[in-house]
Amino acid sequence: MRFAEQFDVIVIGGGHAGTEAALAAARMGSSTLLLTHNIETLGQMSCNPAIGGIGKGHLVKEVDALGGIMARAIDKGGIQFRTLNASKGPAVRATRAQADRALYKAAVREALENQPNLKIFQQAADDLIIENDRVVGVKTQMGLDFSAKTVVLTTGTFLGGVIHIGMQNQSGGRAGDPPSIALADRLRELPFRVDRLKTGTPPRIDAKSINFEGLEAQPGDYPTPVFSFTGSRQDHPKQIDCWITHTNNQTHDVIRSGLDRSPMYSGNIEGIGPRYCPSIEDKIMRFADKSSHQIFIEPEGLNTHEVYPNGISTSLPFDVQLAFVRSIKGFENAFITRPGYAIEYDFFDPRDLKRSLETKFINGLFFAGQINGTTGYEEAAAQGLLAGLNASLQAQEKEAWSPRRDEAYMGVLVDDLITSGTKEPYRMFTSRAEYRLLLREDNADARLTETGRKLGLVDDHRWSVFSDKMEAIAAENTRLNKSFVQAGSSQAKALDQFIEKPLSREARLMDLLKRPELDYQKLMSVEGVGPGVKDEQVALQVEVQAKYAGYISRQQDEINRSLRYENAPLPVDLDYSDINGLSAEVMQKLQDSRPETVGQASRISGVTPAAISLMLVYLKKRNLLRKSA
């Protein structure tokens, strides 16, 4: 049966990528359908119950700056908030929160249900309807056909998913959910490069069976950091502690004795797992000299006793899991509520995607989330938002948009994926961003909200909050630039408590703020200089901009230089063997990656400046060279 209503955008999958994609498309005014195999699992956190962290928190703030749901949902569902790297500089500070799974899910579900232009339908998608290399709709399990101008696929680990516990394995999308076999088979028929990845989870434990006495408590920060630029502390539910325990030699012995039945070490698992999130058996084998590993005991919610022992993800047989868990301090009588497992799944080589996350081979088809080889809710949400907004732009016959590497971690994420592909589940780290000092959590709104507004992603409320904040920052910057402290004045004397040598001549307030000994609060504590602005976010911006001024302008110069041919488009059908002088290796890399722009080509590893020069000359010769896309 063909469903009568025509959609602009259909999103398949209701995880973190799918929900952001559907919400973004609908916010932009596209009639959107979210297809999920189970409405009850919308916004589900299938791995650890936490949002944010270094690099990831940055992504969450960017999603928020573009009107996404993730930050607002975690503000409503977060039960322990912390600022990581608080002692380091603002560029690398990041927010992280433990989530109450149920509260988080409810917040996402509420947003979905109240979003105009968005409809939700429960049914597994079995097939894509493709005409002349363009996707025109989706066929569901029961044979229902939905028509759409564009389709966003966010199927997570469900494509060809296989779950491993010990030597046993079974098909599954995640524990308790069926995999998408039909869709995986169908997609394998399309001309995409497919490979396998692996990820894992730890066994979950009943907190009633844990002895917390003698374990180290890990409280959240107070006052609690807030995730959303439009959020506030009042959104936060009751806050609780996490706990820390450690593995020991006995744990390691038990694990070693069970390795012969490990699917990782017996070769049953072919997919590649993440190096930064190894299973406990991997940690013990690869770092044999370490006699103890940290375990973070994370509560799953306020109204459940289940905890998530973060740090012992495993695919060992259940009897080994139980034995090693019970060797750990506090877990002596632990009752495992769900066994740990590893899951292998299909992912598509992201080098087959454009910057908009549209596939290069099938027009109108977009991929987002783990299907592209990434891991993490935040990475998924960022891609979902981008894919959703670009699907909507295409449905409205507008040009695609994607932030550059110097504009957002989202830009770094997409550029890394489409340029270099990935061999392991890709996770964001701040060290991936060459413009790390510019891409901060604190200025994600300043970097993106204006564009988001133009794209139609940002509602009136967020826009007015944002505009007020920007005006306040500008006003305070102006005041600090125009005001001076005179040497010998009472203000100068008050400053003496903070600075080494007394002021010898008049000093601009802005220059004083740049001094290492001073910060905004100290400066404003001086009578006649302060009290300054009340809004702590505004004060933070003024301070950070002052402290980083030299570095910001240096990075800006770097960016300006790199932009000349950044967006010069490369023809999709460019035959690289036609370009004189390219080495066979470079040629192969360019053929594999098929970069969209000269800028992207220049970032492929092994592509030299000389190779770029040769490409430019070749393009110019054929009148194909344009400086802007």
Binding site: V92, R275, S613, L614, A629
Partner: protein, 466 residues
Amino acid sequence: MSATEIIGSSEQTEFQQDTIVALATPPGRGGVGIIRISGAKASNIGVAITGQVLKPRIATYLNFHLENDQVVDQGIALFFKNPHSFTGEDVVELQGHGGPVVLDMLIKRIIQLGVRMAHPGEFSERAFLNDKIDLAQAEAIADLIDASSEQAAKSALKSLQGEFSNKVHNLVEQLIHLRLYVEAAIDFPEEEIDFLSDGKVEKDLRAIVSSIAQLQQEAQQGAILRDGMNVVLAGKPNAGKSSLLNVLSGKDSAIVTDIPGTTRDILKEHIHIDGMPLHIIDTAGLRESGDHVEKIGITRAWQAIEQADRLLLVVDATDKDPQASMQDVITFLSSHIQQLPPLTVVYNKCDLIGSTETLKQTQSKTLFLSTKSSQGISELKQHLKDCMGYESTGDGVFMARRRHIEAIESASDHTDKAMYQLTTHNAGELVAEELRQAQNQLSEITGEFSADDLLGRIFSSFCIGK
């Protein structure tokens, strides 16, 4: 406003190009050395160097200054206002008296003023991209970029042999090692590895600052600029090496330098020809010796041959079997060193034999000349220049090394700043930024090292992950 308009607006900005500098003439002791500067800063550089505002298209004879108005050379300065220049950008040409040291000092000064060294073929590339070269020449430009980048790579490789290279590589290793700790501390704050606070980073950084300072000092002493550009003359006694030497150097300009140390005097002499150092090694002197001191001399001579950019094998064409004599020498050389440098066979005394036809069947490049009648000498000089890479692109060993020195100096600047950020502000993220920049600079010498490479090293060094 539509998305298309948004995109349009952000990309219509005119992005500036770097201003670039390079030597436009073959380096060496030529009559004139031309330095070319192209880009928006060119005319300001012209003012800084000459002390005058240069009028377009007017040749002015004036002084060239370094910092503190120190006069280093005199010559002609020319300013070409865009678009009426070779590259289509503002171009300044400084025509001085050649001399590698003077030219190097000037280039160094220009770089200090915010200009960067041109990539191989970059002037021509800009000329082409700015429509200053027509389509018919396009293919040649591509070839030029290709050839000069390949040649620059070879030159760079060459200058990176031996001690200097080891030092640079060790330095990069030290730097990577330190970055592992700094970046891990930033990206994995929950892993109990906060090295920023425990003094390790400062200790390691001090070590790096000191090794980079040492390297910089060595580089500034000119050792790298001068060493290695070697042509070695080898051959049997009386093949005519000394006569060739005299002819090549010209009797008046020949600078025959005695290398200190009695033993090496016997084996090795060196001279300059057009600014190129030439080492002459008499292979007859390279015999087995029991004398300890002489042994050292012999070892050094072999090293010189091994590291030569070119080996001129001088053969007496009047020998009974010249090809057999040549083979003898090659066999002898091959038995002592693993890989012979690029080889040119030079038959001397060709004025005394009738036909050279029979001698042409050899794989190596072969030249025929006579030191007595001077026939073939200019061909040899041209051949030497060609194989030394002294083409008009100005790329070759000389520029490659200037690039290396620049990279080291710039890296040193960044590590100093890193130290300041660490000790004054305790700003880990700024230390990380400076170290990243330092490594970027050095990667011009040692090859790229991506963020992913760094993460790979972190994951294999530390047990990371929940």
